[in-house]
Symmetry: C2
């Protein structure tokens, strides 16, 4: 994983912690906790010293603690794109495991790829006093989050970066994965390779298209307009795109897909086609190994994405002072047969 | 769907609503809302009448509204078994859609099939002042929930019923589905049919085993101990169970599985077996139609389970006075090839 800071000035980590208060007052953390939570066992003199440190540092006790009827569970919010997409299952679970290890509840919801809904959900979570947020963004302008971040809500983006604010992001190597998948098809003799991806306003869709174009250019191959389809991933549209690429005057002999939803539909469409067409899918899919041919994929490590994002979030909540940066998680090509099919002999 | 009340006395619906207050005070709902939220536009006389109705009925404004910094978003909690199980994706999404239509946030977490973790999570959600709970229970004793239910937290169980309390439950017809799947294999000539299910402390595992045994008994067929495997669904254990059933002195010629995780492993194990073995899987799995043979399944309608549970929860929150009951959602057998394979001619 490459960790690249993109901003020289730390924008997080300015929020004073109980540790800072303890250091300034010259007392232990437990004593600060007792004062903050109005528990007995602190002498008036010590209490005054702690209170002075709290005032001097502008320490704010986490508000969520005050609204609890029982317990003191912290919580983090997770905004996904679609709760039913199997790609997010392991990501969701990995985040929950880290949250649980930190004694925090996970609150989540999905944006359904709608920027307004994303903003509404994020602000509703902030109103619910989450301690931190992990966001798979649908939108491209996250300036609405700046007051929340200033107020101390730690924020990490995952799968796609934030727009118009500096924030931590944990991303798959979409560009590199698509490039290596395309190069794999080229290495197996293909010259006319199609790409079927998601809507071009989605960051990963653009990155994967970029990786595809880069590999084609590196191989000295042209990309015809009719070989590229970007749009909704509803099965009907994807099916039409496959049919049109295979019927074109210069039909493709191989297809690279932009995500798991597209792959599933393309596998169905190719199963009904009279001759074999090579396929490399972005994202692994269950049972891909048992199909005939097995589906060659560029696998993302969704669990590592989730775990890395959640661990970064809790480091932020602990007051880690690093500048926001990006972590890029590598992808992995898994050859299973469909990506190793040669082009037809007459092409 | 069959809706059967199991308890003669309504235990929900006693919580007075704003509607009840409005009726008793002889004013409109908006007026009650103004009084409750301390908004202007109500005469002192009307305010007194509303306050008297509130006191007489014991109406409590939803506490969660008071803790919000902005907005008045209600929330419901969802306790799943495993966020990464694809079965729960459509269920999760259906619940979220209903919650959203009611302007409520969805807060969720998973129990990892651990009753203690379920209880901890449920109580943490109650402490966070969720308005209602949808629970896929891991445990069998939900008396810990009684104080919360009395305090007005609406609760609906889904996929599995509550234990030792009367509560709404929305369930798949596990018994009927497993019976029809087994009868389907019998109808295709099988006499030695194995069953590989989940741990016997899980309600659906027991129901599905019961349906299998019922169909075998109805066909006048014995069930050898070595044909039944109940336990963890980790691939290694399931694989061992398949191998042992196929190596037995009286080997099975067909297998019924108890859930999607088991099916995926059995499909893998059978793909490596030298001769065809019939298979009916409980739960549909993605790409089941593209395998060779296609996998015959008993499909559950996870979206209907989720939607029905969420709609029932919001009816409860609106003060619906019915007694708690069970809704049973039917399953559907989808024949794709694996369940229609005949037994070997020499068996």
């Amino acid at each position: 994983m490459a960790d690249t800071a993109r901003h020289p000035e730390p924008r997080y980590g300015n929020r004073p912690t109980m540790k800072d208060v303890a250091a300034r007052a010259g007392v232990g953390l437990k004593t600060v906790s007792r004062v903050v939570n109005a528990e007995p066992g602190v002498t008036p003199d010590t209490e005054r010293r702690v209170q002075e440190a709290i005032d001097a540092l502008g320490f704010r006790r986490n508000d969520s603690a005050r609204v609890l009827r029982k317990g003191r569970t912290a919580s983090i919010g997770l905004v996904l794109e679609d709760l039913a997409d199997p790609f997010y299952g392991p990501l969701n679970r990995a985040i929950e495991e880290v949250a649980r290890a930190h004694g925090a509840l996970l609150i989540n919801g999905s944006s359904a790829e709608d920027p307004d809904r994303e903003q509404e959900l994020v602000l509703a979570l902030c109103a619910r006093r989450v301690d931190g947020l992990i966001i798979i963004p649908a939108g491209h302008d996250h300036r609405y989050l700046e007051p929340e971040i200033k107020a101390g809500v730690a924020t990490v983006f995952v799968d796609r970066p934030a727009g118009r604010i500096e924030a931590d992001a944990v991303l798959s190597d979409s560009f590199g994965g698509a490039r290596s998948g395309t190069a794999h098809l080229v290495a197996h003799g293909h010259r006319r390779i199609g790409f079927i991806g998601d809507q071009p306003r989605i960051h990963t869709a653009v990155e994967r298209l970029g990786g595809y174009r880069a590999a084609m250019a590196e191989a000295g191959l042209p990309v015809e307009d009719s070989w590229v389809s970007l749009g909704t991933t509803v099965p009907e549209r994807v099916h039409e795109a496959v049919v049109s690429m295979l019927k074109a005057p210069e039909p493709v002999t191989a297809i690279l897909t932009g995500n798991n939803r597209v792959t599933v539909t393309v596998v169905r469409a190719l199963a009904a086609h009279e001759r074999p067409v090579a396929l490399v899918g972005f994202d692994d899919i269950e049972l891909a190994d048992l199909l005939n041919p097995g589906v060659t994929v560029i696998a993302q490590d969704a669990a590592t994405l989730g775990r890395t994002a959640a661990e970064r979030l809790f480091r932020r909540l602990d007051g880690a002072p690093e500048a926001p940066g990006q972590v890029v998680v590598p992808t992995r090509l898994i050859a299973r047969g469909s990506g190793e099919l040669p082009p037809p002999a007459d092409r």
